[in-house]
């Protein structure tokens, strides 16, 4: 790796994550990026130069370089808001269907999806079904979600001990999610910058701490298209310091912000454009006999 390569990488990491890589740590960068570069069949300098224009690789590189143990119930208050505000509202609104659907968009290793699953196991009334869709651009991460296996060190992060023993069983040095939780979560490969084909709508969408990996144009595009997949009375949750404020007006106008406890949720303003070309009968047409 050339000094210039290291410098431009250090600048990228600092900009995106505030983490600082100082000279002397080149070996660490090489150790962590070499597998990614090799997977693409390029050398490390070439790989680094691609990161400016390839958001998928940029995401992978940043994940590999930053201390990457995601917490359970990360930031705590969004999960509190889910239990105390969002879930009761959805239970009231979906009383006829008794089904709740949730999308963890950019699920990474799955702590977010399974954290929600734990809360649903605790608070969803009998007779209700829950579906959690976990998507990510990394198939390796999706496999991790499917396996539902986490290391001891990962299990220490933000997991109440009572939930640890209730929802996980030990497998060697790892801990594995119990089947009834795993059954709530299905995975799908998805790049947020690509079209959302056949996704349907969700009562709650979690899009937390992932928009930072995209440039402004893509960020706006994601938030624009996302409004078609959140139920009219549903919720979009962004990361703690993320907001639609400052977005182009056509995007900002699609969302209104609502304070739920210490958390700001985004709710759709306009319904998604109708896709069908069905034209209702004119009002002068008699209905019935």
């Amino acid at each position: 790796m050339s000094p210039h390569g290291f410098q431009s990488l250090a600048a990228l990491v600092r900009r995106e994550t505030a983490m600082v890589y100082e000279p002397g740590k080149e070996y660490l960068v090489e150790a962590r990026l070499l597998p990614l570069a090799t997977a693409l069949g390029v050398d490390i300098d070439t790989y680094i130069s691609r990161l400016g224009t390839d958001p998928t690789e940029r995401r992978k590189a940043l994940d590999a370089l930053t201390i990457n143990e995601t917490s359970w119930f990360r930031d705590h208050s969004p999960y509190q808001a889910f239990t105390e505000e969002m879930l009761p509202a959805v239970l009231a609104a979906r009383a006829d269907r008794r089904r709740i659907s949730i999308w963890s968009a950019a699920c990474s290793s799955g702590q977010e999806a399974y954290s929600i699953a734990m809360l649903l196991d605790q608070h969803l009334p009998a007779g209700w079904t829950a579906e959690i869709l976990a998507t990510d651009v990394s198939t390796a991460m999706l496999t991790r979600v499917q396996n539902g296996r986490y290391s001891q060190v990962e299990m220490n992060r933000g997991m109440p001990a009572t939930s640890l023993v209730k929802y996980f069983t030990r497998a060697g040095t790892d801990w594995e999610v119990v089947p009834r939780l795993r059954q709530m979560v299905r995975t799908r490969h998805l790049n947020l910058a690509d079209p959302y084909l056949g996704l349907g709508t969700f009562d709650v969408v979690l899009l937390r701490n992932v928009l930072i990996y995209f440039d402004d144009v893509t960020k706006a595009d994601i938030l624009r298209r996302m409004s078609g997949h959140v139920a009219a009375d549903g919720y979009l949750l962004l990361g703690a310091s993320e907001t639609t404020l400052g977005m182009p007006s056509d995007v900002a106008s699609l969302w209104r912000r609502e304070q739920l406890g210490r958390v700001q949720a985004h709710r759709p303003v306009l319904a998604a454009p109708q896709r069908s070309t069905y034209v209702p009968p004119s009002s002068t047409t008699a209905i019935g006999a």
Binding site: H76, Q152, M155, N156, R157, G158, A161
Partner: protein, 129 residues
């Protein structure tokens, strides 16, 4: 209001690691090398808000210490967090049943301790608005 924490572990190195994490959070810390020493300090007062308790210690182990604390109504507001290598499911269940409020498996990172303290409401972030 400053949180007072007692670190109970027979390993000087582990006490040092935990002390540095807790003083970084501006906790006041005290230390004991085993359960009996800790009980003696509790009796002498002042009573800490939090005890970090290792399991395997000479004289009196952490599990026994926890049962003793929970048996004394005067100490019912002391938060008890085990910090131990005992990682079998049955051991964790036993500790929680005996009255431990939280459980950290060694090895841990400083972040892990902080996040457990947040769950317990013992850092400024965890205090309800």
């Amino acid at each position: 209001m400053t949180v007072r924490a007692m670190i109970i572990d027979d390993s000087r190195a582990m006490r040092s690691i935990l002390r540095r994490i807790l003083t970084g959070l501006e906790f006041e810390t005290s230390e004991a090398g085993h359960g009996q020493e800790a009980l003696d300090q509790l009796t002498a007062g002042p009573v800490p808000d939090l005890c970090l308790v290792d399991w395997n210690m000479p004289v009196m182990d952490g599990y026994t210490f926890i049962t003793q604390v929970r048996a004394n109504p005067a100490w019912r507001n002391v938060t008890l967090m085990m910090v131990t290598t005992e990682s079998e499911q049955s051991q964790i269940v036993r500790a929680l049943a005996a009255g431990a409020h939280e459980y950290v498996i060694k090895p841990f990172t400083p972040d892990a301790i902080v996040e457990k303290l947040e769950i317990l409401g013992l850092t400024s972030k965890g205090i309800p608005a």
